[in-house]
């Protein structure tokens, strides 16, 4: 019991004078700073790990690493292209990605290969083609390459380095194993700071894979660095025009599924193909679509019945079969239908407008926003987490001589407010804290489930004015305190309230004084 109270005392954050509490940004900066210092210390103590730890330090200055994972044909490469806005990752009907491939921003174009047996290949020849970038492995077997690094100057990659992974549950077991090996958190260094998990439906095997990623020591099963994407959302209604709305409903249902809640922060529906095409739409494609849109609906409908019919030569359909085949490959049946409706109804009048509209409908913009709110704004914390994980692994290997470092890792993990927020969030989402659903939902939001900005924490619109913010903060602090002090509140819930109060105080500090 004495241990428990000491522990309470150590964490008595809400008793810290308000003036000393930083806002979210300060918290994050402080955490990164502490972690960096600990990495430095570890470097001094264990020079054997110097190279590895230098890489850990360098990561703080690099973009956040987001892995795109999922089963075979979940649409990982397509989504990657949609996020980057260029067709760089190769996509195909058959299983395609066979090697873990990093796409990172750079000043120049280039491809490197890291070999399994060491000895990297600094430059690999590559060709940029219409469909993708083709990399010449120079006769090397994919089995021997641990990863490819593609340098690609792109503003979309400035904040995030995207990592494409081979599909898991590949019929070729070797290929799937490469991804599991890459994502398995039990490896010494976790190459990715966050994971985008793509799935077509919530399949039991998706669920198992998601669980596997979370099995790490620093933060236990933690939903905070994972986001589920209902990819290929346009296929859910098999091409019906309301497919995206249907996908959104399904995503919402998944988000409330208790089994999934403890594994991911959010579920976002995305029509990857539509997004990719929208961001790379050509004038020729727009022209062909406009011509198609001039054909009366009832004449065109029989040709849109099936992909095969659309490709058949007929007087009603403009363009050559080959043109239409390419169009179909790029848009899919759903994309063509929706584009035709948009053009016919005059919603869009140029390729630019069509691209914008399709991108909006593809859900890619929403995904980017979610990524930014949940990952990018929290990137310091996620990187610190990866760094601590690396140190912890070293400590475990070194045993007793590293015990004091382990204690420090422990102190940061347990003491730093951003981590306590993550832990609270994890506990709330895993359902181990009981309380009224409304209270739990509020707490979840306060500790950053929807993002770490003041508006997201308070549940206000992004453009809410200062006085509304202040009112909300005070009401919510009051609410959290009252809940924490209530004799009917269980211990775990009270602790979560304490963390939330501290988060709200941070929000208050970042809010300018009320002008009135």
């Amino acid at each position: 019991m004495s241990e428990e109270s000491a522990f309470e005392g150590q964490l008595g954050a809400s008793e810290t004078p308000l003036s000393e509490i930083g806002d979210t940004k300060d918290d994050h900066a402080l955490l990164v700073d502490r972690t960096r210092r600990l990495v430095e210390e570890t470097r001094r103590r264990f020079p054997a790990y110097d190279e590895e730890l230098q890489a850990v330090l360098a990561r703080f200055d690099e973009p956040l690493r987001v892995a795109i994972a999922g089963k075979v044909k979940a649409g990982k490469s397509t989504l990657l292209n949609a996020l980057v806005g260029e067709r760089i990752a190769p996509t195909d009907t058959g299983e395609c990605t066979k090697i873990v491939t990093w796409y990172q921003d750079s000043h120049t174009y280039g491809v490197r290969a890291h070999m399994r047996e060491g000895g990297d290949v600094p430059t690999l020849p590559f060709r940029r083609e219409e469909r993708s970038v083709t990399i010449d492995l120079g006769g090397r077997s994919p089995d021997d390459i641990s990863r490819l690094e593609v340098d690609w100057p792109s503003s979309s990659l400035r904040e995030l380095t995207l990592i494409d992974t081979p599909g898991i549950d590949s019929v070729n077991a070797e290929v799937g194993a490469r991804s599991i090996e890459f994502l398995d958190a039990t490896e010494r260094s976790t190459p990715a700071d966050a994971v985008l998990y793509l799935m077509k439906h919530m399949h039991a095997s998706d669920f198992h894979l998601l669980e596997a990623f979370h099995d790490d020591e620093v933060s236990q099963p933690n939903p905070i660095n994972a986001l589920a994407v209902l990819s290929r959302a346009d296929e859910i209604g098999v091409g019906r025009l309301d497919s995206m709305a249907s996908a959104r409903r399904i995503a919402q249902r998944y988000e409330t599924d208790p089994r999934l809640r403890r594994l991911v922060t959010a579920v976002v529906p995305v029509a990857g193909l539509l997004g990719e095409t929208a961001r790379t739409l050509t004038q020729n494609e727009y022209t062909l679509l406009s011509e198609l849109a001039t054909v009366p609906h009832k004449d065109l409908e029989p040709h849109l019945l099936s992909a095969d019919r659309f490709l058949e030569a007929s007087p009603e359909t403009p363009g050559t079969s080959l043109d239409r085949e390419q169009l179909l490959g790029r848009f899919g049946v759903f994309g063509i239908r929706i584009a035709l409706v948009l053009i016919r109804r005059g919603v869009v009048n140029s390729s630019r407008e069509l691209a914008d509209e399709l991108l909006k409908r593809s859900g890619v913009i929403e995904l980017r926003e979610t990524l930014s709110k949940l990952f990018v704004e929290r990137s310091g914390v996620l990187k610190a987490r990866s760094a601590l994980l690396a140190i912890e692994k070293i400590c475990t290997t070194e045993g007793e001589s590293a015990d004091d470092l382990m204690v420090q890792v422990e102190q940061i993990t347990a003491g730093a407010h951003p981590f306590r927020e993550l832990a609270t969030l994890a506990a709330l989402r895993s359902g181990t804290i009981s309380g009224r659903p409304a209270d739990l939902q509020l707490l979840e939001r306060t500790v950053g489930a929807k993002g770490t900005g003041p508006a997201q924490r308070l549940g206000l619109d992004d453009d809410a004015d200062v006085s509304a913010q202040r009112t909300a903060v005070f009401t919510q602090i009051e609410g959290a305190r009252r809940l924490a002090e209530s004799p009917f509140t269980e211990h775990d819930l009270a602790k979560a309230c304490t963390v939330a109060t501290r988060s709200l105080e941070g929000v208050l500090n970042s809010t300018p004084d009320d002008p009135s």
């Binding site: 058959g94 996908a247 089994r259 506990a427 775990d492």
Partner: protein, 612 residues
């Protein structure tokens, strides 16, 4: 085999069966007449169960709706099918659900009548419309031409969904299948999990056809088809893949467009179902009927043969009377509880019950040991979600293995009893009074026929009998009944150790071991529940088999008694007749014998045996 040849053979068979039935009435043998009636019924109502399986959200329900051109199985973007739905022919629409009341120790299934609108409430996931019961299956009868030939389509919950019990329900449905339609969509090539499921399904029912759905939506479906074919080939799975489009089928139905219908791929699938599946089942039914016919006509034939002999050869009559008395005695003994076959049947059943029970206990012990070890290795807070489906799947595999063991033993016993029965009936002196075991002739037919009658590794005779007991509402016995059981997830206490884990290491350790023991308890409870259910089910199944066998053999013994006693009466009467009367009667008997001989010849022809 073409439909036309089928139809002609069918007509001939039915005409002959009717004729034989009339003969039985004329010769005052209603017992034999009843057998002919039953045979006639089995020829006219073939039962071919086609179970549609696949991963969830591949379009199984849509496929069935499109086959029938009616929306009977609920289809939704999100909510998946949760219980098997059987659709068969009926003159009027009728639907009922088999439900188990919750909260009872050993609940008995109850049928509920449903309206069409209630079907979705019963078969889809996450429906709490009737929380007081557990829905086990739904059966729908509807007047559809496709179903009239005896085809029954069974929609199953997709495997791989989050509701882990579904896989069991699907395996249960597979255990009664005559054919399996495996559904995969054209969005991507077959996955490892699908291929593995396909292999598992093939073990339960080797008659599999694959269907590639949604080919209207995926332009690259031909590539996917090629990839799928090569995956199947590599695994040595020999099944045809039929590409189909429900969208085109719907359009075709709406506009009555033949070309589009061809394009939809459905005609190919329909002809597979009609010719290969229903056709085969019909052929099997026909062969069974033929063997019954042969048996009955042989009995009649031997009766007139005896009669004629007694009439034409008074010197031999005395010896014959003795033979007939012996035969009658033997037949009477056959009916009594002291006969060898009855003793063997009763003893055998007791043995089987013991063996099957022992086998299952051993299997469950191994599962529990393995599960125990798994739970001891990790923290159930992390592993439970993965563990639960593993457990359910593992247990269901063991149940299936045990079920197959049971069927094997039961068929062995059936054949043993059949042999004893036949031996006891066979007298050295009058072979014409042989009592045939009910399944004996069928055996001969099966042996020499090249149609794959033994397509089930389950030993078709024993299996036939067991299946015979299931009529009306489908009861997925054994495997099906455990679909109703779920693992009750343990309330995993204290995962909330989130603030400062290391500081409270001992506490963490303690809570972890508490979670482990909770999880183990939940696992044991589940295994106990399954054992209880399976035990009850295997007992019920065996009792049903025993009853069926006792009744069938008993009936046959009674027939034998009647035949021998009728022959005895005739022979005794013949001995007392004057020469002139005898001659007149002999003439009549000769004529009757000729008629019966013609009937027997026809029966031999229909059974495909060379005429004697």
């Amino acid at each position: 085999m073409s439909q036309v040849v089928d139809d002609i053979q069918n007509d001939e068979m039915m005409a002959t069966l009717e004729l034989a039935g009339q003969a039985c009435t004329a010769y005052e043998r209603p017992d034999l007449g009843k057998r002919m009636e039953r045979a006639l019924e089995s020829v006219t109502t073939t039962d071919a169960r086609v179970v549609v399986v696949g991963e969830f959200k591949q379009g199984k329900s849509t496929l069935i709706n499109s086959l029938l051109n009616v929306n009977v199985c609920p289809v939704d973007d999100d909510i998946a099918t949760a219980v098997p739905t059987a659709i068969r022919f009926g003159e009027r629409f009728h639907a009922e659900a088999v439900v188990l009341p919750r909260g009872e120790e050993a609940p008995e299934p109850v049928s509920w009548s449903l309206t069409a609108a209630q079907i979705p409430m019963m078969v889809t996931e996450g429906n709490d419309a009737y929380p007081e019961v557990e829905v086990k299956g739904v059966e729908v009868s509807m007047p559809k031409a496709l179903l009239k030939s005896g085809l029954m389509l069974v929609d199953t919950p997709g495997v791989g969904g989050l509701g882990s019990a579904h896989a069991t329900a699907t395996l249960g449905a597979l255990s009664i299948a005559d054919a399996v339609v495996f559904v995969t969509d054209a969005s991507q090539e077959l996955t490892n999990a699908e291929l593995e499921f396909l292999e598992q399904a093939r073990q339960l029912c080797p008659n599999v056809v694959s269907v590639l759905t949604k080919i209207d939506f995926y332009p690259a479906w031909r590539r996917v088809l090629e990839l799928d074919q090569s995956h199947l080939q590599r695994r040595g799975i020999d099944t045809e893949i039929i590409p189909v489009s429900a969208v085109l089928r719907r359009f075709a139905a709406k506009h009555n467009d033949r070309t589009v219908n061809e394009e939809s791929g459905f005609p190919r699938l329909l002809s597979f179902l009609r010719d290969d599946i229903v056709g085969n089942a019909a052929e099997r039914a026909r062969l069974r009927a033929a063997s019954e016919l042969l048996d009955v006509s042989s009995t009649l034939h031997s009766h007139f043969e005896t009669k004629l002999e007694a009439l034409t050869d008074p010197e031999a009559a005395e010896a014959m009377l003795q033979d007939l008395r012996d035969a009658k005695e033997r037949a009477e003994l056959l009916r009594s509880g002291l006969s060898k076959w009855q003793i063997r049947l009763n003893d055998g059943m007791t043995d089987i019950m013991g063996n099957v029970d022992f086998d299952f206990r051993g299997r469950m012990r191994r599962v529990v040991a393995e599960a125990d070890e798994t739970l001891s290795e990790g923290d159930p807070a992390d592993t439970w979600a993965e563990f639960e489906p593993w457990l359910v799947n593992k247990v269901s595999q063991e149940v299936i293995a045990n079920y197959r063991y049971l069927t094997e033993l039961a068929s062995e016993l059936a054949s043993d009893v059949g042999d004893l029965f036949a031996d006891a009936g066979t007298g050295a002196v009058s072979p014409f009074l042989d009592v045939s075991s009910p399944e004996m002739l069928l055996d001969q037919v099966e042996m020499r026929d090249d149609i794959d009658l033994e397509k089930k590794s389950l030993g078709s005779r024993g299996f036939t009998m067991m299946r015979g007991g299931q009529s009306g509402v489908i009861m997925f016995s054994m495997v099906g009944s455990m679909a109703g059981l779920t693992v009750i997830a343990p309330v995993l206490i204290g995962v909330g150790l989130i603030f400062g884990r290391k500081g409270l290491k001992d506490e963490a350790e303690r809570q972890r071991s508490m979670r482990q023991s909770q999880a183990k308890n939940a696992m044991r409870k589940y295994c106990d529940d399954v054992s209880f259910q399976v035990n009850k089910d295997s007992r019920d199944t065996l009792k049903r088999v025993q009853r069926t066998m006792r009744d069938q053999f008993g009936e046959r013994a009674e027939e034998a008694r009647k035949t021998s006693s009728a022959s005895l009466i005739e022979a005794e009467r013949a001995a007392k007749l004057g020469a002139a009367e005898r001659q007149a009667e002999a003439k009549n008997a000769k004529a009757e014998l000729a008629r019966v001989a013609a009937l027997r010849a026809k029966a031999q022809e229909l059974a495909g045996l060379p005429s004697v």
